[in-house]
Each structure stands twice: as C-alpha cells, then as structure tokens.
Symmetry: C2
Subunit: 337 residues, 2 copies
C-alpha cells in the first residue's frame, strides 16, 4: 500500500519517515507554538513540560492534523495552533497517566512524576490542558472547540473507566475496545477532524478523516498493548510488563484468559489481582499469550482497524499525503513485530 | 452597609442568607445542570463528583454569577449553564488540590482522595474540567470561553507557583498576593464577569464586576488563611493547622516571620521546613502570629480588598442584589472572627 518502492524491488519496512517529511515545514510552525505557549513566569512549568514535550515524542497526533490538512491542500496555518493544542492535551494526559499508574519510565526517560513529584505533574498537566483550550479559543472556531472539548471529555471518561476496570478479571473485549476508543482513539480522531474543519472541506470529509484517525488510534493502542508483552525496555523506552504489573486488562490478557484452561485462569486471576507479578510470572504470562495466540490475534485485531483506517482514505486522490498516511497505519501495526 | 435591618435596631452578623435567597430560584436551575452533567456511564464519576458537589459546599462562585446577573436584571437563563461550568472548574481544582496537599478533610467530610484514592481524584477532576468546557462551548460565546479559559490557565499557573513557594521561607507578601489572585481570585472574577457578558451590559460593567469578584476573591482567600490558624476543625470543616503542617507560605506566616525576632525566625524556618510541625509548634506559631499582629493585619488586608470589592459596586443602583453582594463581602471577612 505504500507509495515508496525500494530500488531493489524489496518492500522496505513501513516507516513514519514519509509522514514526517510531508509535515516537516508545518511541524516547525507547530513546535514554535508549543515552545512559545509552554512558557510561564513560573519556572517549573516550562522545565517540567519541556522534559516531556522536548523529550523524544513522535508528535503523532499533531502530525495527523498536519497530514490531513496536506491531504486537503489546505493553504493556511490555522491548524498549527490547533495541532499544538492537540499535543498539549496529549501531554497533559501523559502527565496525569504517569501519576495514576505510578510509572517511572516513559520514552526511555525517567517520568516527570519521578523527578518532580506527583503534585507538580498533576498541576502542570492541568496548566497544559488549560493552555490547549486557550489556543483553541484564540483560533475562534466553535466547531473546533466542540470537537476538541468533546474529545477531551471522552478521554477523561475513558481514563476513569480504565481505572475502574483495572484488576477486574471479568473485563471483556467490548469494554476494552470502548476504553481504548475513548482514551486513545478519540484524540486521534479529533486531531484528524480539525483539519477539514479549518479547510472547510465539508461534513462528509470530516467524517472520513475522523474515521481514519479513530481506527488508526485503536490500531495504535492495540499495538502498544502487544508491545507491553512482546518487546524489551531498551528498544521501546517503556517498561515491559508495566500493564501486567499494574493489572491492566488489555486485549492480550483478555484473550488469553478467555481461552485458558481452568489452571491458566487461576493463574490469570492471581496475576491480575497482583498476587503473581514477578518476572517469572510475566514470563509465564507471555508464554500463555503465545500458546493461546492472544498476542497474534491482538495484532490481527489491530490490522482490522488499520484496514478500516486505510479504507477511510479511499475516496481521496492518490498522492504524497495519502501515501504517507497509509504507511503510518502500516507502521503503527508493524511496531509489534 | 447591609440593607437588612434588625427589628431591634441591632445590626445582625453579616450572612450569606440574602445572597442565597436572591439567587435561590436560579440556583435550582444551576443545580439541575450540575446534576445532569456530572452523570456518566462510568459509575465512579457521579459517585466521586457527587461526594464533593453535593457535599455541603456554599456554591459561592455560581452564586456570584447569578447575583451579578440579578444586579443587571438579566432576564435569561444562559448563565445557569455557565455558573455550573464555574462550579465544575472549582470542583476539579479542589479534587486536584486535595491530591497535591494530601488532604484528608474538606467541608467536614473525608476527602475524595482518601476514600477513592489519588488516581480517581485526578481523573475525575480532569473529567469535570472537560465538562466545564463542554458547557461553555454549548453556550457558544467566544467571549465567555476566553474569560473562563484564561481564568483556568491563570488558576493552574497559580497552583504551580504555590507549589514552588511551599516551604520557601523567603516568599514575600507580593508573591503571596500574586498567588492568591491567580489560584482563588481569578475564578471569582471570571464568575462575576460572565454575567455582564451574557447580559450584554458592556465592557465597563464587565470590568466593574470583574473587579468586585477579584477583590472579593482575595479577601475570601486571606480570610481562609487566617481561619487556618484561628479556628477549630468542628466549626470550619477543615483541618486547622493544615497550612502550617504543609509549610504553606500564607500571609499570617509571612508577616509573623518578617516581624519576628531572630529567635522567632529560627523557629519559623524550622516550622516551614517541616522540622517543627507538631501541635505544640502550631500553638507556638499561633501565639507568635497574635503577638506580632500578623493575624489581625491579615484580616485588615482582607478588609482592604473587601472595601475595594464594595467600591466596585458603587455605580450600580441600590436594591436587593447590590445589598446581598455587599453583605457577602462582609460575610467573607467576618468568618475570621
């Protein structure tokens, strides 16, 4: 599906490079807004925010806003400010997530809450969230405000639901998909949808790009959830087994539990309750996930949502933007290998 | 200054009753919005939010929106939704404050973070904050959105600044006043200002009511800071000495330190750093605050801001709304006695 053809005729690994190249100039504009608006006379704010914002994130969500605008040949720059707002919302969520999970590592670095403490992470997260809204208000589109405030509310609701599902072995696939559509996919969807709004491309195009973003977001989260059981800390910058130790009910675990023997289920109940959370237990968990095809089928599910994301782009004319957006979907899923 | 005259000719204690009576009907409308919009399919959200929202708060900020609208004889109901948004912002702030401070008591009840844990308080706070923005977006006034998003950002910045000033003995009165203008007065000011916006009363009236709210907010916070050293838990529903134990640099402490002997200053440094935080230390702190007039002069400062709040109302015609708003200022300050 990628437009990039390797000179030797061998299809290369899908990568984010085409997307990054596509939006590089615009991203400079977004970064300028981000840097400008994370400033404050209170020194701790840019210090803490900068640790995370400057700290090696992919800027996936703002890239999607920028790429969607490219797909529509939008000539303006209004979306720079909105892409920055999206990244601020995301960063605020990460800061609060790390407090909620008690995480110590993110993107290969120590988390802000570990360095500056939970209170600072909570309050700087709040600050970034309010700055996101200020950016949207400055843009002045009530339609954009509606999309992003609604997405923010859905994210927060999804985060609370995830918290209540934690260590609950009876969480099922439907509930899980509902949670990740809320906590992850809603912002991907909104990030894509704001582009056709500023480009005045019409409701139909809005819905197609929202669908692209939502499905990509689900695929992205499913892949993340596989990675948590299938990768190693050095390459991913995230602690492997974090979800396991926190008793998070992600799809690999839900499938392995559903398909397990009575003995396996006893293990899973103990693991999810936190009674079996050692390294040996994690290794056993991964072995069970492999023997029940739980990891492979989670990747298959990611692939299903990825296909839907790509299909949402079907009616757009071929070109550099579309190719890059298709390859981003492939990249999102291939990370699990 | 109160319009209420006691039948025996003795001026009664100032009270919030006239304000509450003035806005009682409107408050039913606000409460309906609050109850409706704190609902969620995720049961923990209304459960936790309801604990705080239904739990005996005075609804001071929404009352100010409603009273300001009465002062302007605004005939509509748009401000009900906005007053609810203001209360949601305030509630979100309280939830996060209690996490930041590790508080155990609020309004005479156990805090949400103590009952449901910090993660739930952080995330439900986020949810209420996003709901506040949804309410504002539904109202559809960019001017209101600008006022309340700016106030929210100022609040968050003030909270971070307060955190960085914590246990910093060199915090001075200017910095302290800057912090409370941000963390407390900004929302009082915004709550009042949205009324003339929806009533289309013009910029001049907006500025007067904003000034009323801001000055009342400063007076209110100063009085709260006195109460933390001068009241008892049973009557105020808040742990006395909380600020002391947390090393918070409030005006009573700043004045007592500035006016203290070298020996006193040694004590204050130890107290603020957390080395002397026992009940005896608190008693000694209060004694020093009394002997240096630090508490009395903080009340005087509150009175100064209260006078400015009242003066901001000078050009409005006399009547029930104005009397109630003046008495609310007196009430805010008299709580310290």
């Amino acid at each position: 599906m990628s437009a990039t053809v390797h000179t030797l005729g061998i299809k290369p690994e899908p990568s984010l490079a085409p997307l990054m190249q596509l939006v590089a100039d615009d991203m400079n504009g977004v970064n300028a807004v981000i840097l400008d608006r994370m400033q404050s006379k209170v020194a701790l704010i840019p210090e803490l925010a900068g640790h995370l914002i400057a700290g090696g994130g992919k800027r996936m969500r703002p890239m999607l806003t920028l790429a969607s605008a490219k797909l529509l040949s939008y000539p303006g720059t209004r979306h720079h400010r909105l892409a920055a707002a999206v990244e601020f919302i995301h960063t605020a969520t990460l800061l609060h997530d790390d407090v909620v999970d008690g995480s110590g590592m993110r993107r290969g670095k120590r988390t802000a809450n570990l360095i500056w403490g939970n209170p600072a992470s909570v309050l700087v997260g709040d600050f970034l969230f309010t700055r996101a809204f200020e950016l949207m208000v400055e843009d002045g589109s009530l339609k954009v405000l509606k999309i992003l405030s609604s997405a923010s509310s859905i994210i927060a609701e999804g985060e609370v639901e995830q918290l209540t599902a934690q260590r609950q072995i009876d969480t099922d696939e439907d509930q899980y998909l509902g949670i990740i559509e809320a906590k992850t996919a809603a912002l991907f969807a909104a990030a894509c949808r704001v582009a056709p709004v500023v480009a005045e491309a019409g409701e139909e195009v809005e819905l197609l790009l929202e669908s692209y973003g939502r499905n990509l977001g689900v695929a992205f989260q499913l892949t993340d959830d596989v990675i948590d059981y299938a990768s190693d800390e050095a390459t991913m910058g995230k602690g492997v087994g974090d979800d396991f130790r926190e008793g998070k009910m992600t799809l690999p675990l839900i499938l392995a539990y559903a398909r397990g023997s009575e003995e396996d289920r006893t293990f899973w109940r103990a693991a999810v309750s936190g009674e079996r959370a050692g390294d040996d237990d994690l290794a056993h968990a991964i072995a069970l996930m492999r023997s029940t095809d739980a990891l492979a089928d989670t990747v298959e599910t990611a692939r299903h949502y990825g296909r839907r994301a790509v299909d949402s782009l079907a009616s757009f004319p071929p070109g550099r933007a579309k190719s890059a957006m298709v390859e981003a979907v492939e990249f999102a899923i291939r990370r699990a290998y």
